[in-house]
């Protein structure tokens, strides 16, 4: 096919990829990304098969993971829908590691490979490296090694204590894995070597602490009489898994280590749960911008661009709330629109933009966008950057559903009066603290039956779902004694509770 484009570095108009072409495409993308100032970890691109993609997809997206039935369950259901053609596979998985690993599926066309490279290897990668949450909470250098450690450790436990014992414990940990994160403290970074060295130390120390906690040596009498028993824990603890790891009376050292592993992994993924809109928006914005640039330079041709735009359009499609295809706000659509909008406000601000974003209008868009990427999570990002124009473009409207009222009320729409309200509500919607029930360790009965009390502080009077009782069983299995879950309203009164009693003889 004659190639009438003038750029000598132009990619051939072909659908099939080859290693050389991927290298070539990658080189161009890398160059353009650098021009835009994207700072990334080194990239490692891996060509994998569809089946391997399903593997990666179903084992929490990590290149290595421990074995567990629920990963098998996800594999089976993914496989089923993939084989039936109901679902295309996610054509990109990228791992927040250093080097950053991005998977390219062999079935993809050359265009799709370029899209994935731009999206994952430069978009997500720079987000992982730049965003404050990832910088604070994840250690990209150590994660793959840690997963190897976890896999080996768990495999060893299975040999020693049996698959069932390990599986039961992991089931319980998974049930409260979302409650295994520290929101405010910053974990120390440790290399794997240190991790392994300290693991043994930790076992011994933790065990000795447990014993201290339940010490039954009789106290001196006057002390007993005067002081009420100290409250334990002195402050409520939001990290359930951490609390269990440190204080569950009956866990064996290896069980504590397993709790710790699931907690670490949960913590590692916590930033991803908080930055979905931003992360996908950022990556989508950059694949779009980079590939447009390549088109302008004549490196890629019309056919390439048509195929790319078709995929891109599918990714950022947002059905209306009344559409049968509606399943919530598409984070790709919202994120991409917001990132693009920030660029627009910088480059071509309207009067409205000048009024709403006086600092941003007319500024250098690359710097402004970079600042936004680094210093926010979804909640604050939306609160800060969602513009009236986007609210109009999306036709956002707020629906108030109060169970004390017979009807639903439209509390705001995309009009002058509603902009700030809609923006605030949408930001709230991305607040993990609101999305997930607020459940903390409240108290342990240290004197008597060792029962653990969890406290659910209601948000907007929302009740817990029907699975709470089941989850409580898992907590009780880890804790080893009775567990109670109290629900308190906004005034601090207990409005309801669930109990889970253990058999007195443990296990």
């Amino acid at each position: 096919m004659p190639d009438d484009r003038t750029n000598p570095r132009a990619l051939p108009e072909q659908s099939e990829w080859t290693f050389d072409l991927i290298e070539q495409a990658h080189e161009e993308i890398r160059r353009v990304a650098k021009k835009f100032g994207l700072d990334t970890y080194p990239n490692q691109l891996e060509i994998i098969t569809a089946e391997q993609m399903m593997d990666a997809y179903t084992s929490v997206g990590m290149p290595v993971s421990y074995n567990h039935w629920s990963f098998g369950k996800h594999f089976l259901s993914t496989e089923k829908s993939y084989k039936r053609g109901q679902m295309g596979l996610a054509y990109e998985i990228v791992i927040n590691s250093d080097p950053c690993i991005a998977y390219l599926m062999e079935e993809n066309s050359l265009t799709m490979q370029a899209l994935v490279i731009a999206h994952a290897a430069y978009g997500h990668n720079s987000f992982f490296k730049g965003n404050y949450l990832f910088r604070t909470w994840t250690d990209a250098e150590a994660i793959v090694d840690y997963m190897v450690f976890a896999k080996n450790y768990i495999a060893e436990c299975e040999q020693r204590y049996g698959i069932d014992a390990v599986e039961d414990l992991l089931d319980s940990c998974h049930a409260i894995q979302n409650y295994g994160v520290d929101r405010y403290k910053r974990p120390a970074k440790l290399s794997v070597a240190q991790e392994a060295a300290r693991q043994k130390e930790r076992e011994e120390y933790a065990q000795s602490q447990v014993n201290a906690l339940w010490r039954t040596v009789p106290r001196r009498e006057e002390e007993e009489r005067n002081a009420p028993p100290p409250r334990f824990p002195p402050e409520p603890e939001e990290n359930l898994l951490y609390f269990i790891e440190k204080y569950a009376p009956l866990l064996e050292p290896w069980q504590r280590e397993l709790v710790r592993i699931t907690r670490k992994i949960s913590q590692y993924f916590y930033p991803q749960r908080q930055t979905q809109v931003m992360n996908e928006g950022w990556a989508t914005f950059w694949h779009y911008t980079i590939l447009q640039e390549l088109y302008k330079e004549g490196i890629v041709g019309d056919g390439f661009m048509l195929e790319f735009l078709q995929s891109h359009t599918n990714v950022v499609y947002q059905p209306a709330a009344t559409s049968p295809y509606y399943s919530g706000i598409n984070p790709y659509a919202l994120g991409f629109a917001m990132m693009s909008d920030i660029r627009r406000i910088c480059e071509n601000p309207t009067e409205e933009d000048r009024a709403w974003f006086p600092d941003m209008a007319g500024s250098d868009w690359i710097k402004t966008l970079d600042f936004a990427m680094r210093n926010f999570k979804d909640e604050s990002f939306i609160a800060q950057y969602l513009s009236p124009k986007l609210i109009r473009d999306f036709h956002f409207f707020a629906v108030l559903d109060d169970d004390r009222s017979d009807k639903l009320t439209i509390s705001a729409i995309h009009d002058e009066a509603g902009y700030r309200y809609v923006r605030q509500q949408l930001a709230e919607q991305y607040n993990i603290g609101n999305r997930e029930p607020n459940i903390q360790v409240w108290q342990v009965n240290t004197r008597d039956d060792r029962a653990l009390t969890l406290r659910h502080t209601q948000f907007q009077r929302r009740p817990l779902n029907g699975q709470a009782q089941e989850v409580l069983k898992h907590v009780a299995r880890l804790w080893g004694f009775d567990v109670r879950l109290e629900t308190v309203d906004s005034t601090g009164h207990v409005v309801s509770f669930l109990d889970c009693r253990r058999e007195k003889r443990h296990r």
Partner: protein, 423 residues
């Protein structure tokens, strides 16, 4: 620095372990599903995978979450008609105004079952496991293979009866031409020389003529000395033994459906028939399955009726054997058919009839079938049919009988029945 790595050949099937873990966890449910599949499927359709469904509530992994209730205020895209302050009725279920219900986390778990496919191997494993038979698939059961000889070109050795005359003579002719060539050429040159001398009117007794004649004579002697046929020329028709592609077999399932054969016993019988089918499948390309059911009267039926018809009555086993004999004679009499009979019964038969059965087998049926197995599905003491059949077994090596009490016995019994026969 960038790395581009081809991982396609590595780490395949990484989820196999997790898949196994899943199957292991839901073994009971999967076994049930396999059991149902066996009941629902025809005998010949057994070797496929199976779709297994497990109630979603069983595979659900519980998590804390919010349920409907209290105050929810959600932002939704795509407003076309609403103004602030508008009120409307709560939609009946999810959708519409609120986009919060995440499937795994909502209060009402969806009613759909978790459905996945067992591969053929996995299905067979469960099938055989039910028979308490962990390694059966690996076990090579005895295979009766007939050989036939067929021509396979020519060979330089063999028995005289296999000498191929045409090939041998053709070879000899070639050899003679090759070996005699130089002498003949020399002889014809000498002949020409001789004739040249005669043309020059050299007398007959000229020493040159005498010399040439002598040489020619010598050459002719040599040519004549070349053997007409040499052991070297012999070619034998080559015949080799090849396994006879006994492509077709007929398998008779004969079952007693008198009142005492309940669902469980029929199921046991079915599993036995399936096993027989799988076994024969290893040897034959094509297998006909004939179902004969009997109570007081026998009938040839289709599989569905065979296992599921509720028609019932007393027991006259010989009625089935008569029918069996008739079917063989009418449709499977040619030597191309290998007939196998599997009979299942609870052993209850009319007294006088059992003797008749023995006679039918001894005189009519046994010579016509490859193998006849009788399983008695019962936990009671042996009945008269068993006793009569024992006598048949004594006279015919290809008759075997065993008792099955529980499904777990099926495989051991099957192995016992089909163990290698002393020849």
């Amino acid at each position: 620095m960038t790395y581009l790595i081809d991982r396609r050949l590595q780490g395949k099937n990484k989820s196999a372990v997790n898949r196994e873990r899943f199957l292991r966890r839901y073994k009971a449910q999967i076994k049930d599903a396999v059991g149902r599949a066996i009941k629902g499927r025809s005998i010949t359709d057994i070797e496929n995978g199976e779709k297994v469904s497990i109630p979603v509530k069983d595979v659900n992994e519980p998590h804390f979450g919010h349920a409907h209730g209290g105050v929810w205020e959600t932002i939704n895209p795509g407003n076309t008609e609403y103004q602030k302050g508008d009120q409307f009725n709560r939609p009946r279920s999810g959708g519409g105004g609120s986009g919060r219900g995440r499937a795994g986390n909502s209060e009402q778990t969806s009613e759909d079952d978790f459905i996945f496919e067992l591969s053929r191997e996995e299905f067979m494993n469960y099938f055989f496991e039910d028979l308490e038979l962990p390694n059966m698939v690996k076990t090579q059961l005895t295979q009766t293979i007939d050989f036939k000889t067929q021509r396979a070109g020519y060979n330089v050795s063999g028995t005289p009866s296999n000498i191929h005359v045409l090939r041998s003579l053709r070879g000899a002719l070639g050899r003679r031409i090759a070996v005699g060539g130089p002498s003949r050429r020399a002889a014809s040159e000498l002949q020409q020389e001789l004739e040249a001398l005669f043309d020059a009117e050299v007398p007959e007794d000229d020493p040159r003529v005498v010399e040439i004649r002598k040489k020619i004579h010598h050459l002719h002697t040599r040519i004549n000395a070349i053997p007409f046929i040499d052991p070297f020329d012999l070619r034998y028709s080559n015949r080799i033994k090849v396994p006879k592609p006994s492509t077709q077999a007929v398998m008779f399932c004969v079952m007693d459906v008198s009142g005492s054969m309940d669902e469980t016993r029929k199921d046991t019988a079915k599993r036995f028939f399936i096993l027989l089918y799988l076994f024969l499948k290893r040897v034959y390309e094509r297998i006909d399955v004939v179902f004969i059911r009997h109570h007081t009267a026998a009938a040839e039926v289709d599989e569905d009726e065979f296992f599921h018809s509720r028609e019932s009555g007393g027991t006259v086993v010989s009625s089935a054997l008569h029918l069996l004999q008739k079917v063989i004679a009418e449709r499977y009499s040619s030597s191309d058919w290998n007939a196998y009979v599997a009979q299942a019964s609870d052993g209850d038969n009319w007294d006088n009839d059992s003797v008749l059965c023995k006679q039918l087998l001894n005189n009519g049926i046994m010579p016509k079938v490859q193998y006849y197995t009788y399983v008695e599905i019962t936990d009671g003491p042996p009945q008269n049919l068993w006793e009569q059949y024992t006598e048949v077994a004594a006279h015919h090596a290809n008759f075997a009988m065993q008792k099955i009490v529980t499904p777990a016995d099926i495989y051991p019994v099957f192995r016992e029945l089909f163990k290698k026969q002393p020849k």
